[in-house]
């Protein structure tokens, strides 16, 4: 049995991915790298949304937007990894729980 793919399907898929990403950030208590991956997951869900909409609405803007996201995300990840490296250098760990020097 086959369903026709509609915008709703795309949106639902991306919503699931988005929720997974967000949940990953909140629930993950171990690894900073995993957080970076979850952030990528969020960006991916957004891209799916944009490209899907672009297709169904026959509007090019969404595809251009996702190109921008890819580019910016690369820069973002580079900065993120650099900061994680710094953190590792200073603390010898990449556990997110270790980042608790400042609180209150």
């Amino acid at each position: 049995m086959f369903y026709t793919l509609t915008l709703s399907h795309v949106l639902t898929l991306s919503a699931l991915l988005f929720t997974m990403g967000m949940a990953g950030i909140v629930l993950n208590r171990r690894n900073i790298i995993a957080i970076l991956m979850c952030l990528e997951l969020v960006l991916l869900s957004v891209s799916i949304n944009l490209v899907g909409t672009s297709y169904f609405r026959a509007d090019i803007t969404g595809q251009i937007f996702s190109m921008f996201i890819l580019t910016v995300a690369a820069a973002e990840l580079a900065i993120g990894l650099a900061i994680v490296t710094l953190f590792f250098r200073n603390r010898g760990t990449i556990e997110i729980d270790a980042a608790d020097l400042m609180k209150g």
């Binding site: 988005f18 950030i25 900061i83």
Partner: protein, 481 residues
């Protein structure tokens, strides 16, 4: 679009090209101070165009073809840009001494500041959600880097990490919101969204998807503004970041974010006023309360100033929520005044060398001038007339009353009593407590002196002649409503 109209975007062009130029300058000369001077020149050059026609200039939009306008220059963006760049100039002298002491005085600092400024100007002038996203990231990335700039400092890299993770998460939320708006409306330009939302509102209920999208977009700017409850990162990042960066973070992105928020609410999301006005009103009250009450229990001065920022953003939100020209004007006025007051306070903080509240004990006996500077700026921050801070609060509360939001204005006035609490507490510590040590404070670097002096003078002058800035912001705000 004529060839001359492109001149109106010179601030962005100058800052963008200027940052690349500064990168070269820094790389080849390896002279941080020279780069700093270059940065000042670039910022000054970027100010020329908006200065020529601050409020009389035309409204000009860069056309993005079928996608709609990408950027829009208007009197409002001109004034916001001018305030932003003026404050940025005041930030530069803070940098040298601190980074030298931390053995991290490199040309890149200035390059990153100018890059972030380019992002902020782009953010202020953006007229399309794509531009908005790129601009927001261009503003954020350099600040992430600056926050973690002290490589061997655990706190600095931890602050960078926290800011990065939460900032990326906020921009992820915003992106998702944008994608929902796109899915719902099929357009991303401000004018397109405005028309589509208006039509949606005219035909019936606003679709939930659009509301979710709008909320998510707003959350990103609320995060940058550190409005409670999106403020949690602020104290930690303020504490860990190098102090000049904290000062920059506490002033420049706030200006850009407030300008953006005002433009979003007066522009594309205007028809949803019934939804966001009460919600943002509550957030304003929450910010004022959380900021003031958490500031009192702090011991670290940078954390204290972080909560002070949160409280002040609450007051600015009162002006924004009023959703009238007076409110937007009041918010801009408040922001300008708040920004140079905060910079002055950070300069005084660096000059005193104090880390914790206890370090300030008896400062009045150790260094009268410095204590007097603190006194003046804290009084202004607390809203004591005839200092500038009073005029700022007066402006936003009047706007709220004019918009019929009397309970909000009352809540604001009551919160300013709370806010008075920590200002007076600091003053009490400085003036009445016995100092632990009687050694005079070390000689104050010239850069800090300049910032404190300008800040104090501006506090006094704008307190007596608030219309010098107020007339400009009102003209600017009237242009977008």
């Amino acid at each position: 679009m004529t060839h001359l109209d492109i001149l109106l975007t010179t601030p962005l062009l100058v800052l963008g090209i200027g940052s690349l130029f500064l990168l070269m300058l820094g790389a080849f000369s390896n002279n941080a101070r020279l780069t700093g001077i270059g940065a000042a020149v670039v910022i000054l050059a970027a100010m020329v165009q908006p200065l020529l026609q601050p409020v009389s200039g035309p409204v000009f939009a860069i056309d993005g073809g079928a996608g709609g306008h990408l950027m829009q220059v208007s009197p409002f963006t001109n004034i916001a840009t001018l305030i932003l760049l003026g404050i940025a100039l005041l930030c530069l002298p803070l940098i040298e001494n601190y980074f030298k002491a931390a053995k991290a005085y490199k040309p890149e600092v200035y390059v990153l500041v100018v890059l972030a400024l380019a992002g902020m100007v782009a953010l202020i002038t953006s007229a399309h959600l794509l531009t908005l996203y790129v601009a927001l990231e261009l503003m954020s990335f350099p600040i992430y880097i600056l926050t973690a700039f002290l490589r061997d400092d655990a706190k600095s890299s931890e602050a960078g990490l926290k800011y990065y993770v939460l900032g990326s998460m906020a921009s992820g939320l915003m992106l998702y919101g944008i994608s929902l708006i796109y899915a719902g409306l099929g357009t991303l330009s401000f004018t397109g969204v405005f028309t589509a939302l208006n039509n949606a509102a005219a035909t019936g209920e606003a679709a939930p998807m659009l509301l979710v999208g709008t909320t998510l977009i707003l959350v990103a700017s609320l995060f940058k503004l550190s409005v409670a409850p999106f403020h949690m990162w602020t104290p930690d990042v303020y504490e860990g970041a190098p102090t000049p960066v904290t000062a920059i973070m506490g002033s420049l992105p706030k200006i850009a974010a407030v300008a953006l928020l005002i433009r979003l609410l007066a522009g594309p999301f205007d028809s949803l006023e019934g939804y966001w006005q009460p919600a943002l009103g509550w957030l304003a009250i929450a910010s004022m309360l959380v900021g003031a009450s958490l500031a009192i229990v702090q011991t670290n001065l940078k954390r204290l100033l972080a909560f002070s920022t949160i409280a002040n953003i609450g007051f600015i939100m009162v002006g924004i929520v009023a959703a009238n020209p007076q409110g937007a004007s009041g918010a801009l006025l408040y922001l300008g005044i708040y920004a140079f007051t905060t910079l002055g306070l950070f300069a005084a903080l660096m000059a005193s060398g104090a880390q914790t509240v206890n370090d300030l004990k008896g400062l009045a006996t150790r260094n009268k001038g410095l204590a007097a500077t603190f006194l003046l700026l804290l009084f202004s921050l607390a809203g004591i007339p005839p200092l500038a801070g009073f005029m700022a609060k007066f402006a936003v509360f009047t706007a709220a009353v004019q918009a019929g939001l009397v309970p909000l204005a009352i809540a604001g006035v009551l919160s300013s009593v709370l806010a008075l609490f920590y200002s007076l507490w600091l003053i009490k510590v400085m003036v009445f407590d016995t100092p632990d040590t009687l050694t005079p404070t070390p000689k104050i670097p010239q850069g800090l002196n300049i910032v404190m002096f300008v800040s104090c003078i501006a506090t006094l002058i704008l307190g007596i002649f608030p219309n010098m800035l107020g007339n400009l912001t009102l003209a600017a705000a009237t242009a977008i409503f």
